[in-house]
Amino acid sequence: MSPAPSAEKPLAGLEEIKKNYPASSAALMPALYEARRQFGWLSPEALSAVADALNLPKAAVRSTASFYGMFNQGKTGRHLVRICTNVACMVLGAGSVLEKLEARYGLTPGGTSRDGRFSLAVTECIGACDKGPAMLVDDDMHTDLTGERITEVLERYE
């Protein structure tokens, strides 16, 4: 991972993004994604950098960021595991998958494993209901989970 930008070094790459919108305030969400990528998480420093880069009040940046689940995650482990517990996945056994995660990695929703490897979040439907229970590990979708399959999948993430 590239070193996190310091307070003096502004967020890079926003000029291109700004061109996609009639006003730079509208570039806030992509800027938050970019800041998350460059800083590792949306720390107070990252939010300030976004505010400076877009010339927005810090309060406006915080207001928007705090609304969205994906900008509101705090610092996570190396991999973010998001398990769908919505109805279709629930009736196909998402509950037993969660139990397995707790037994195997000591992971409970909102928590991080002690070695910092995984953070767990439960999520609403992720659009894989036909192959539930489903989860996202970072940006990868995994489906048809069982208590057995989930550890098999997670062991592929260092």
């Binding site: 006003a23 992509p30 994906m70 900008f71 919505n86 109805v87 439907c125 940006d139």
Partner: protein, 412 residues
């Protein structure tokens, strides 16, 4: 039966522009570009196309409102926020047949004389973002796109699927709905006339323009023409997305296309249009799946997402999880929704845990009755009617569940 939305997806290369062109792709756009914008709108009006985002609003009429507004610039926004639980149809288009959407957007942009287009894509669809971005790049490379088309990634808020919340979000703000009117067609993105259409709606346009409104009108049911994507999940043998004519019955979808109930069990309940659509009991499955008929049967077509529950499923638990969803996704702007959804969830939670109290069902009816009709946007109404309809059709199960837990009731 003709399939123009996902007909090609058994071809592993269907997302490639060359494959799409080989199958006749982008000819509809060429044809539309040779027509006057007004005539394109006329053809879409004549086709009777209705929006697939949930409400079934006539697309041609929406376009006409925006076109008649004298203000410029105008915008076309594709709603790819697909957050309705049970729904995964738009994802299939985005990942497996992205050019049908891009071609549809280009037709819309021409018809509306729009300055640019946005695709508001839900944050949980990284795979779709990749395939869509590649498809957009390829479409530019081949010279099909004469306007800026951007992907805007959402960040995990269901309410941003509501069109005015979506616009707020696209402007960089919290995704809270706006008061209507004015409608987006008159005052949308940064105040410009804005047409917002669902992915599947836009994906109907290439067929309509290529084959003509008259051919389109021959598919589906008279009041709701065309094909519809039905994502089927839950306790069926073959879950998946099925492209079928509007008006196909729920029975045919469940028993023929999805292979019937898993392990030969009996059907207990079905949700016909995503979690916000009222649940139906098994004696209602002869319902034709189109916007008009499903309403007559006491539910709504919504996203067309069919969620099937076999005998043995605890419906208190299903209702509890649905209300937990609405509580979590309530944007917090209006009190009946913000407070009411949490209240309903907590009553359902104690019933589910065997700690229900005498009078809890009536209390839920009272709370839901006070949400319905009193909220700022349809999210709260949806939550109330979900709760009320579970009680209405399965009251005795709720009564039996008060004071006892699931295991004693032989449900899971």
């Amino acid at each position: 039966m003709i399939k123009y939305l996902l007909g090609n997806i058994d071809n592993p290369n269907a997302a490639e522009i060359e494959e799409y062109e080989k199958a006749g792709g982008y000819r509809a756009l060429t044809k539309a570009l040779s027509m006057e914008p007004e005539d394109v709108i006329g053809e879409v009006r004549k086709s009777g196309l209705r929006g697939r985002g949930g409400a079934g609003f006539p697309t041609g009429m929406k376009w006409m409102f925006a076109a008649n507004d004298p203000k410029f610039p105008k915008y076309v926004i594709c709603n790819a926020d697909e957050g309705e639980p049970g729904t995964f149809k738009d994802r299939h288009i985005l990942e497996k047949n992205p050019h049908v959407l891009i071609e549809g957007m280009a037709i819309a942009v021409h018809a509306l004389k729009a300055e640019r287009g946005y695709i508001y894509l839900r944050g949980e669809y990284p795979e779709a973002e990749k395939s869509l971005q590649k498809a957009i790049n390829d479409a530019y490379r081949k010279g099909y796109l004469g306007f800026p088309l951007h992907i805007h990634r959402g960040a995990g808020a269901y309410i941003c699927g509501e069109e005015t919340a979506l616009i707020e979000s696209l402007e960089g703000k919290r995704g809270q709905p706006r008061l209507k009117p004015p409608f987006p067609v008159n005052a949308g993105f940064f105040g410009g006339p804005t047409v917002i259409n669902n992915v599947e709606t836009l994906a109907n346009l290439p067929f309509i323009m290529a084959s003509g409104a008259d051919s389109y009108l021959k598919i589906g049911s008279p009041e709701c023409p065309g094909n519809k994507l039905f994502p089927v999940s839950g306790h069926v043998e073959r879950p998946g997305v099925f492209e079928l004519p509007m008006g196909t019955t729920l029975r045919e979808i469940i028993y023929e296309h999805a292979g019937g109930i898993k392990n030969g069990r009996a059907l207990k309940a079905v949700i016909p249009g995503g979690i916000s659509a009222p649940v139906l009991p098994p004696d209602k499955i002869d319902c034709p799946m189109d916007f008009v008929s499903v309403q007559k049967y006491g539910s709504m077509l919504g996203s067309g997402a069919v969620m099937v529950f076999a005998e043995g499923t605890c419906l208190v638990k299903v209702a509890w999880r649905a209300l937990k969803f609405f509580e979590h996704e309530s944007c917090g702007k209006c009190t009946p929704c913000r407070e009411g959804t949490g209240w309903l969830r907590s009553i359902l939670e104690r019933i589910e845990n065997g700690q229900g109290r005498e009078g809890d069902i009536e209390l839920m009816e009272d709370v839901a009755g006070n949400i319905a009709g009193n909220t700022f946007c349809p999210l709260g109404d949806g939550a109330a009617s979900v709760a009320l309809n579970f009680i209405r059709h399965f009251r005795s199960e709720f009564e039996d569940h008060i004071g006892t837990d699931c295991r004693k009731m032989a449900v899971l």
